[in-house]
């Protein structure tokens, strides 16, 4: 440690305190009883009326792994940062707030909230506590309940910053419909449906930060003049009643984030049919009323065996 090389006694002392925190919160003695008392009624599996009730939100609070792994909202404890921890956020909400945890007897006593906050800030150490072995095992399995929508949303969301208010306000005057998908103003649903053809020019406003667009609806437009189209975090694209160029078709087929492609009544460039065949990233592909032949539709259904091909 370079602090020691400095031979500065005070710094060494400081470093030692950091390494072996004297005032640390003890999980097993101080935190676990709170969780047991206030949270485990819902956040672990139990039998009720002869039926197995699974942990709410897939969040198992009766094991170390479960707590570390979080639930359907993702990781909820960020060691060393209570303020970034969703668990801490939820227990700190005011009385009567819809998201407050615990929902019935909440909020916890302020001393308990502080204790949990301190424990997270100090690194959320569990000591030797492992918790329920069975729950431990369950938590170590992949979280199958997390849908691709959630996974993609979380990934994309963490890859971009919030859009500031002035920019958003300016966007509201543009000929498209922009709707925030959460209060964080990070990911948006963007729609040109019902707007005049000229509106498409405004697509270029996203050239510098296309990562904010999660859902895009270009229904009813002639897309052949489009030059720029690089939405790298797009999850869902609606191309109903559109016509597109081979160039655009190629671009779309290479969009790895894309999970839902709606080609309802779309004129897909038939010379680029093969581009569709390679789109294994898709989960849903809608082909009804499109210009693709029945044979082509069946071919897509056969090749894209992991996706739902609708026609």
């Amino acid at each position: 440690m370079r602090f020691i090389i400095l031979k500065n006694n005070i710094i060494i002392l400081f470093w030692m305190i950091q390494a072996t925190p004297v005032f640390a919160v003890d999980f097993e003695k101080e935190i676990s009883p709170i969780f047991e008392d206030q949270c485990l009624k819902c956040h672990c599996d139990q039998m009720k009326n002869g039926k197995l009730k699974r942990a709410k939100a897939d969040f198992y609070m009766d094991s170390q792994l479960g707590l570390q792994k979080g639930g359907v909202s993702g990781v909820v404890i960020v060691p060393h940062s209570a303020k970034d921890s969703y668990l801490y956020e939820l227990i700190s909400l005011g009385t009567g707030h819809e998201d407050l945890m615990p929902p019935k007897n909440g909020p916890l006593k302020s001393s308990q909230i502080k204790l949990i906050g301190d424990w997270i800030d100090e690194g959320a150490e569990f000591g030797s506590w492992l918790g329920n072995q069975e729950a431990q095992l369950k938590s170590s399995q992949p979280n199958t309940r997390l849908s691709s929508f959630q996974k993609n949303f979380q990934n994309s969301s963490s890859n971009c910053e919030s859009i500031g208010k002035p920019r958003l306000e300016a966007m509201m005057n543009e000929p498209f419909l922009l709707e925030a998908m959460t209060s964080e103003n990070r990911l948006f649903s963007l729609s040109f449906r019902g707007y005049a053809q000229g509106a498409l020019k405004s697509l270029e406003l996203w050239e510098s930060d296309p990562q904010h667009i999660f859902r895009l609806d270009l229904s009813g437009h002639d897309l052949t003049p489009l030059k720029w189209f690089d939405f790298d975090q797009l999850f869902e694209l609606n191309l109903s009643h559109t016509t597109l160029s081979g160039h655009l078709a190629e671009k779309i087929s290479r969009m790895t984030s894309l999970k839902k492609l709606n080609l309802y009544a779309c004129s897909w460039p038939l010379s680029h049919f093969k581009a569709l065949v390679g789109m294994e990233q898709l989960e849903v592909l809608v082909l009804s009323e499109s210009n693709l032949s029945l044979a082509q539709r069946h071919e897509l259904r056969a090749t894209l065996s992991r996706s739902e091909v609708i026609f």
């Binding site: 009720k48 939100a57 998201d99 949303f153 922009l178 990911l187 729609s191 020019k201 405004s202 849903v284």
Partner: protein, 426 residues
């Protein structure tokens, strides 16, 4: 950016909105408000539009989605069939629903405190109990108030076949009341001939000239509201988009698939409106108050419901729109599992009833809550009218914790602090 001025869809409308003032107005400012939704909720909006099918009179839960096949004294002559979800059965007339059960989230544990029609309907629509001093807005009006409208010419919410007693804008401005379609066959009534529009507009301007002095002196929010309504109506009359209300433009085959009955036609119109990005469409279908002769009447009504719902889900799926359209099927209360002696009828039963959610990010093949073996009481996970409304609002990404203040300074929250059933969503 320079481009944008050229392609604004309608400036005149936006200018006239200025009069309403503030973020509460529609159009552009309402869009801005939607973008600044300030809820700590991290749940992303999964749905973009809602089709809310309300079965007026009270759907019998034990004869539809919460059957009790082991209890013949409850079930009467109604048979049950297996669905595509293991262990879940529906009543026999719901054969299409049974096939697509893997797309449905069925709530078996709805419960309300209101056992009379008007109060029950009110509670379901507003999340509140009826009071003599105040009318609360319906969920559709809340959606209009909070999320604004998407199209300049079309309203944010439409109510199809709704009786006049249904709650509408309540304490919000009349502009947030849903547009009412009384008869789908006639579409949007009194649209008038496009050729006469100039005359109508001239008359309207004349009217404005007459009114100006009065407005300057006595103008109030209520009077302005009439003005807004005239303007909205004119915009709609002028717009090409008014065609959306005409279901005769659909192929005959499509209309046959939905069914040539009220609910079939209403559901077809609802799909047309979803395509035009109307946020909230309510389809009201009365006639479920089966105090007498329950089974014969359900024998007529349930197949129609099944056909319309099946067609709607299929059609939206084919158009790739089911993922972003939340279909809600609900009613004001359930019906008593015990049969009465009026030709095997069922009376009101507010303690337990069922609702169904489809699409819009709903996890399919899920059953929420449970009633006892007779369908009388909720065993666990009871869902109140407010909880259901909170669930719908949450799917649309609307803020449930934000407080809105009425003109009288009274604070209210969307869905009256109901708890959304987020576990039903992807």
């Amino acid at each position: 950016m320079t481009m944008s001025n050229m392609i604004h869809k309608d400036l005149s409308r936006r200018e006239c909105i200025g009069g309403l003032g503030g973020l509460a107005a529609l159009g552009i400012s309402a869009k801005a408000e939607a973008a600044y939704v300030k809820a700590p909720s991290r749940q992303p909006a999964t749905a973009r539009s809602v089709i809310y099918i309300f079965l007026g009179g009270g759907l019998s839960h034990v004869d539809s989605f919460d059957v009790k096949p082991e209890r013949p004294e409850i079930q009467g002559p109604m048979k049950s069939i297996a669905t595509s979800v293991d262990g879940l059965q529906f009543s026999e007339p719901l054969s299409l629903c049974a096939k697509m059960a893997d797309k449905l989230a069925v709530i078996h544990s709805m419960s309300t405190s209101q056992g009379a029609h008007e109060q029950g309907v009110y509670a379901m629509h507003t999340s509140e109990r009826m009071r003599s001093t105040l009318r609360h807005p319906s969920l559709s009006s809340w959606v209009s108030k909070v999320a604004g409208k998407r199209s300049d010419n079309l309203p944010s919410s439409v109510l199809i076949h709704g009786p006049s007693r249904l709650p509408d804008n309540g304490y919000w401005d009349p502009i947030h009341a849903p547009l009412r379609i009384q008869n789908v066959d006639r579409g949007l009534a009194n649209l008038g001939e496009k050729s006469n529009l100039n005359q109508t507009e001239q008359r309207y301007q004349q009217l404005q000239r007459f009114n100006r002095r009065f407005m300057d002196q006595f103008g109030s929010k209520e009077v302005d509201a009439y003005e807004d309504m005239y303007r909205e109506a004119l915009l709609l009359m002028k717009s090409e988009e008014s065609e959306v209300f005409d279901i005769s433009l659909e192929k005959t085959l499509t209309r046959e698939v939905y069914g040539q009955h009220r609910i079939g036609k209403a559901c077809l119109l609802a799909r047309r409106l979803v395509e035009k990005e109307v946020r909230f469409i309510e389809v009201y279908e009365g006639g479920w108050d089966t105090h007498a002769n329950n089974f014969d009447r359900l024998g007529e009504k349930l197949p129609q419901l099944d056909q319309a719902l099946g067609a709607l889900v299929h059609d939206l799926t084919m158009r790739g729109l089911l993922d972003q359209t939340l279909i809600v099927l609900t009613t004001e209360f359930g019906r008593s599992p015990k049969l009465n002696n009026r030709d095997l009828g069922r009376d009101h039963h507010p303690a337990a009833f069922s609702s169904v959610l489809i699409g819009g990010g709903v996890r399919g093949g899920v059953v929420h809550g449970q009633t006892d073996e007779r369908g009388m009481e909720i065993l666990h996970d009871a869902v109140s009218p407010a909880d259901l409304n909170a669930t719908i609002a949450s799917a649309l990404g609307l803020p449930l914790s934000k407080t809105f203040t009425t003109d009288q300074g009274r604070p209210f929250r969307l869905a009256n602090d109901g708890k959304p059933l987020r576990e039903l969503f992807i």
